[in-house]
């Protein structure tokens, strides 16, 4: 074991030694510096491992060979070892990253760098308050020197502001030290704590100055203008050091010094942290400058850490894990992002499209962002979860709201940025230059994130319940991303089949789960088959597709709320990436993410509220919630964002319409069912039939009905085929919501039938239309026409699809409608029912428009030679058609077991559907799918034969052989009646389709951004204002405290 003092010795010694080298010796200096940075890494890590494994105890190093107060002592305990390890690793990697810049500046810059790292180490280790001051000043000077590295106007300005601000702050620190010594008679922290038994008023003032200075060093909002300028102006490598390194050290100092203060400091810290987290992230939402944006995020994260420390007593034993998770995410991700920003060298986030030039960089970028926002499986997800749960346990919901709101704002700007990176414009001339020394550090940090994720998972209370195998599989898919698409597709399908086979026995006794598992997995396999038509490698598609599907399956498998939420977030993440792959998807995917994020946080809050007063996290506790009104409503709204209820639907049309042809069915036919499943879980937890008169259900019923009407009405006026289908999905989810809200046996049966049907026909329609779009390369229906001749199979698929959609007997759509009517009349929601029926008739309008405008009418010249949709699109379509046919002819095969389950379970014992062979009956009416199919089939066949006999001599004619009042049609384009087909309907009912929701969200968005933009002007750029704010901040905190 090497004594930690050698860390200081090596770094300091080398810093002095470098001064001896001549200016030309940069090469040697570089090597020497690297070596001298590597040794501390070894020392600190070995200490960390030894202490962690219990082989060594924390040691105190007494300098000058005597004990305090006559000497300065350094401590190397577990925490210190951890933080010094982090700092030293960062130092080493940061040096590798910065080496090119540093070499340009010569050996003195390297010496400065060494001094900085040394300073940070000492700041962490020292237990002497004055020593702390000295080394903090050293760090300040080193940082100020490194800011100068960039050597442009902005960095000078920022450096000056930094110096003045930090100088003033450290002077306050010095005042504090003076009082500290005056009243405590010692400079040793431990000594002071020991002597703290006689706390006098003067000591409080000392502690005030000391802690407030450290807080100010951590850049609390709004006294942090100088810090933002530094982040923006410094070289990204240096910004990384400041953000991850000095902030790490400072946060540890805060942690170290807190025992000095009284309990009230924890509360102050919480408030300060909360204000910082929320405020900084809020102001970040309208920020476009890359590094400044990272600065906002950085400050926000530190605010969150302050909150965590402030809640130390409440978090109890979970504190370590939470702190670790949040800290490590911030530490790794923020450094990584700053480094990437240095590689990309773009000032505005809108120019980050260039990042696509490198897969590895894009991958790392994504990882860092997801880690920051707190998506699973990254550590901050566990941290946030645990923190929220602990806070919920003590009923601190306001704080949870603040954390979630701040995270939401953070997600907002980070995902906007990600959107620009994945989809932003990019000029072809520019190439991303990635030297190895620049990419290695972020790469290592990226990998470390996964390791940290593993540890966070194992430290988390519920972490061991997460099934990690799918995640490993997803990682594996990343690794084999270089293979051609069809191999990966086969592997994926194989994995899903394997999973399905293994899953079935474990859930086979719960038909409800089986139904949804079938929708998710069979649907997944079918849509993946369509993926075979894609040539090339299709990079980055499969991991996320699998992620989405496993997320969905995870919902079904979830036994506790943690697993549920984990799966929910996984699904959101996967689907987001799938959606953003579309050509014009940037905006829509961003909307999707915002709504998903907002929804997820509402669910999170709902879960937290449910868990209040409950010991376990079983899904059932939702029903035991001590504040059911809140938790039900929050959870319901959260799930409704995924099912796109009217008002929350505005993300859906764009996201579904602009997605790739085979992604649309995934996200429409299948993904939406995730939300439905969530609602089912919620409603079951509410207690099934007993809760049927809950006012929430009544309003959800109305919402469902209005959604159905609005969605269909909007679909009618669309010219874009996929958008039409997307709005239709909105409406269909409205039906399902409505039927679920009945909370009766038949109502639920109807909802499940709808769900199955919607899966079948919407997947079918999206695949069919997707195949058409793939061939004709346009979404606009009026540009198509007459494609039945080129694409007869797609036509059949669409025909079956719309017959099912419209609920026309004999196909299975009718089953849903029939059950639905019985449910409406049984339940007594007549007017809502009529509204939904009206919506159903409106569905005819767009069904006709869809099939007519695309397949019938006048063929266009451009599409004279288009081929039938790829066979890989047709195969799943026809499997689905077979599914529809079976379900139509023998609905009892599916509905009987579901009905049995609903009836037998304690949830819906009464008023069930009774079966007599193939005839279903309620106490209102009866229906026999099999016989109807038979009767209609026979009749149709007879009539067809008759017609074929009667008109056996029929001349086949072409498109222009139509009666045109003695004229001939001019061109196909002018003869095809399709554009604005329902203008008369718009005249009559168009006012109902006014985009109120869009307008509302636009205004909300606008106002939020305006406020953020306006508040941002607080940071005037004037150093003096910043100082004034700092002083005002001190005074305000002082006034609050005393």
């Amino acid at each position: 074991m090497v004594s930690p003092i050698y860390i200081i010795a090596i770094l300091l010694g080398m810093a002095f030694m470098l001064g001896l080298l001549s200016k030309s010796g940069t090469r040697i200096a570089g090597i020497l510096t690297s070596v001298s940075l590597a040794l501390p890494v070894y020392i600190s890590i070995s200490w960390f491992i030894q202490i962690l494994s219990g082989n060594a105890d924390a040691i105190t190093i007494f300098t000058a060979g005597s004990v305090p107060p006559f000497s300065i002592n350094l401590v190397m305990g577990l925490e210190e070892a951890f933080f010094t390890s982090a700092i030293n690793i960062l130092g080493l990697l940061g040096f590798i990253y910065l080496s090119a810049d540093l070499k340009k500046q010569g050996v003195r810059a390297m010496a400065l760098y060494l001094v900085l790292i040394m300073g940070l180490n000492v700041v962490v280790m020292t237990r002497d308050i004055f020593n702390l001051f000295v080394f903090m000043e050293i760090v300040t000077i080193a940082v100020a020197g490194l800011i100068y590295l960039k050597n442009d106007n902005q960095s000078k300005e920022a450096g000056f502001k930094y110096l003045v601000a930090v100088g003033i702050i450290s002077l306050f620190f010095l005042i504090g030290i003076g009082f500290f010594y005056f009243y405590g008679g010692t400079l040793n922290i431990d000594g002071f704590i020991a002597a703290n038994s006689v706390v006098v008023k003067g000591a409080t003032i000392a502690i005030f100055f000391i802690i407030i200075s450290i807080i100010l060093e951590l850049k609390p909002f709004p006294a942090n203008g100088w810090a933002l300028d530094v982040y923006q102006a410094a070289t990204p490598g240096v910004s990384a050091l400041i953000s991850s390194g000095t902030a790490t050290a400072s946060i540890f100092v805060l942690y170290k010094l807190l025992p000095l203060g009284s309990e009230i400091w924890l509360q102050i810290l919480t408030v300060v942290g909360a204000v910082t987290f929320l405020g900084s992230n809020f102001l970040g939402i309208s920020q476009k400058n890359t590094n400044r944006l990272l600065g906002y995020s950085s400050i926000g994260q530190v605010g969150l850490l302050m909150m965590v420390i402030g809640f130390m007593p409440q978090l109890g034993s979970a504190f370590k894990m939470i702190f670790f998770s949040v800290f490590i995410s911030h530490f790794l991700a923020k450094a990584g992002l700053f480094w990437l920003s240095g590689i990309v060298k773009k000032e505005s986030i809108t120019d980050w499209g260039i990042l696509r030039g490198s897969n590895i960089a894009l991958f790392l970028f994504g990882i860092f962002l997801f880690a920051l926002v707190g998506f699973p499986p990254f550590p901050s997800f566990y941290g946030k979860w645990q923190m929220v749960m602990e806070l919920a346990g003590t009923g601190r919901f306001i704080w949870i709201v603040i954390i979630l709101l701040g995270s939401f704002f953070e997600g907002l700007y980070l995902f906007r940025w990600l959107g620009y990176a994945i989809k932003g414009e990019k000029s072809n001339e520019e190439k991303l230059q990635i030297p190895w020394d620049k990419i290695v550090p972020p790469f290592i940090f990226g990998i470390s994130l996964f390791i940290a994720a593993y540890y966070a998972n194992s430290m988390s209370v519920y972490g061991n319940t997460i099934n990690l195998i799918p995640l490993v599989f997803i990682l594996l898919l990343f690794v084999i991303d270089f293979l051609p698409a069809y191999i990966k597709n086969t592997i994926t399908i194989g994995a899903m089949v394997y999973y399905a086979v293994n899953l079935y026995p474990s859930i086979s006794d719960d038909t409800l789960r089986v139904v949804f598992a079938a929708i998710f997995l069979i649907g997944g396999i079918l849509t993946m088959i369509a993926g075979y038509s894609v040539k090339g490698k299709r990079k980055g598609f499969f991991p996320f597709a699998v992620m989405m599907y496993f997320g969905l399956i995870g919902l079904i498998e979830a036994e506790n709320l943690f697993q549920f939420f984990f799966a929910w977030e996984l699904m959101t993440l996967g689907s987001y990436i799938l959606i953003i792959r579309g050509k014009f998807s940037m905006k829509h995917a961003f909307n999707y993410m915002l709504f998903s994020l907002g929804g997820a946080y509402l669910i999170f809050l709902g879960i937290a509220m449910s868990s209040f007063g409950n010991t376990s996290l079983d899904i059932g506790i939702i029903g035991l919630s001590t504040m059911p009104g809140w938790s039900y409503t929050l959870l319901a709204i959260g799930f409704l964002t995924k099912t796109a209820a009217l008002g929350l639907h505005i993300w859906l049309p764009g996201a579904h319409a602009e997605a790739e042809s085979d992604v649309s069915p995934m996200v429409s036919g299948i993904l939406l069912k995730g939300g439905v499943f969530g609602l089912i879980v919620l409603f079951l937890a509410m207690g099934g039939e007993q809760a049927a008169s809950h006012p929430l259900l009544y309003s959800l019923g109305w919402l469902g009905a209005i959604t159905a009407l609005g969605g269909n009405l909007l679909a009618v006026f669309q010219e874009d085929a996929k958008r039409l289908l997307a709005y239709s999905s909105v409406a269909n989810l409205g039906y399902i919501l409505f039927a679920l809200a009945f909370m009766t046996n038949i109502g639920w049966l109807s909802a499940l039938t709808y769900s199955i049907n919607h899966f079948l026909f919407k997947t079918l329609l999206f695949l069919a239309i997707g195949g058409v779009v793939l061939r004709v390369k346009t979404h606009n229906m009026y540009e198509m026409g007459g494609l039945i001749k080129q694409m007869p199979w797609s036509f059949i698929a669409v025909l079956i699809g719309i017959i099912t959609l419209a609920g026309i007997p004999p196909l299975s759509g009718y089953a849903g409608k029939w059950l639905f009517y019985n449910a409406v009349i049984t339940k007594g929601w007549y007017f809502q029912g009529v509204l939904v029926f009206f919506a159903g008739t409106i569905a005819f309008l767009y069904c006709f428009k869809l099939i007519y405008s695309v397949f019938l009418g006048q063929p266009k010249d451009r599409f004279r030679k288009v081929k039938e949709a790829p066979i890989w699109y047709l195969i799943p379509q026809f499997i689905l058609i077979i599914g529809i046919m079976i379900f139509s002819a023998r609905p009892d095969l599916v509905l009987k077991p579901i009905g049995a389950l609903l009836t037998q379970s304690s949830y819906f014992p009464s008023d069930s559907l009774s079966w007599e062979n193939v005839t279903a009956s309620t106490n209102l009416g009866y229906w026999s799918g099999y016989k109807i199919m038979l009767v209609i089939g026979v009749m149709f066949a007879v009539l067809l034969v008759w017609l074929m006999y009667m008109s056996r001599k029929t001349q086949k004619v072409k498109q222009f052989n139509i009666v045109y009042a003695g004229e001939r049609p001019f061109t196909p384009e002018t003869t095809h009646f399709s554009h604005n087909m329902f203008s008369h309907y718009y005249k009559a009912l168009g006012f109902l389709s006014a985009p109120l929701a869009t307008r509302f969200w636009n205004i909300t968005n606008d106002i939020t951004h305006r406020i953020a933009d306006g508040s941002k002007r607080l940071y005037t750029g004037n150093g003096q204002t910043y100082l004034a704010v700092i002083m005002a901040y001190i005074i305000i905190i002082y006034l609050i405290m005393f």
Binding site: E137, K156, E157, F160, I168, I175
Partner: protein, 124 residues
């Protein structure tokens, strides 16, 4: 009850006066050099404060020489630690000030102005 005009109070008041003066200067002065000077004043005021806090009536400076013998030093001299601290703080203060000045110099070289209001390219 000590006299308000005794040396320790005077130094403390002076240091606070200087502190306020310096802070006021930092906030109100537009010239960068004046800001740096104000900063130095604050620095000095705090040094003064530290020293005055260490002062114990009727004792001498903590220098062990013929006047103060080694044995009774603990009763005859003022607390030596703050003095040591002040020495260090002065050194550090000089370092910071020097760096500030060099920044100010290079800033002036480029913009030919010392008005801090002109350096607002970074904001919002």
């Amino acid at each position: 009850m000590t006299n308000l005009f005794s040396i320790e109070y005077i130094t403390i008041f002076t240091s606070f006066a200087l502190l306020v003066l310096g802070l006021w200067g930092i906030i109100s002065q537009k010239n960068i050099f004046k800001i740096i000077i104000s900063f130095s004043i604050v620095n000095t005021s705090i040094h003064l404060l530290l020293v005055s806090l260490a002062y114990i009536r009727n004792r001498t400076a903590p220098i062990i020489d013929s006047a103060v013998d080694r044995v009774n030093a603990a009763e005859k001299v003022v607390d030596p630690v703050p003095h040591a601290l002040v020495l260090t703080a002065i050194v550090i203060g000089i370092g910071i000030t020097a760096l500030m000045l060099s920044y100010a110099f290079t800033m002036y070289k480029q913009h030919k102005t010392l008005d801090i209001n002109q350096y607002k390219s970074l904001k919002w």
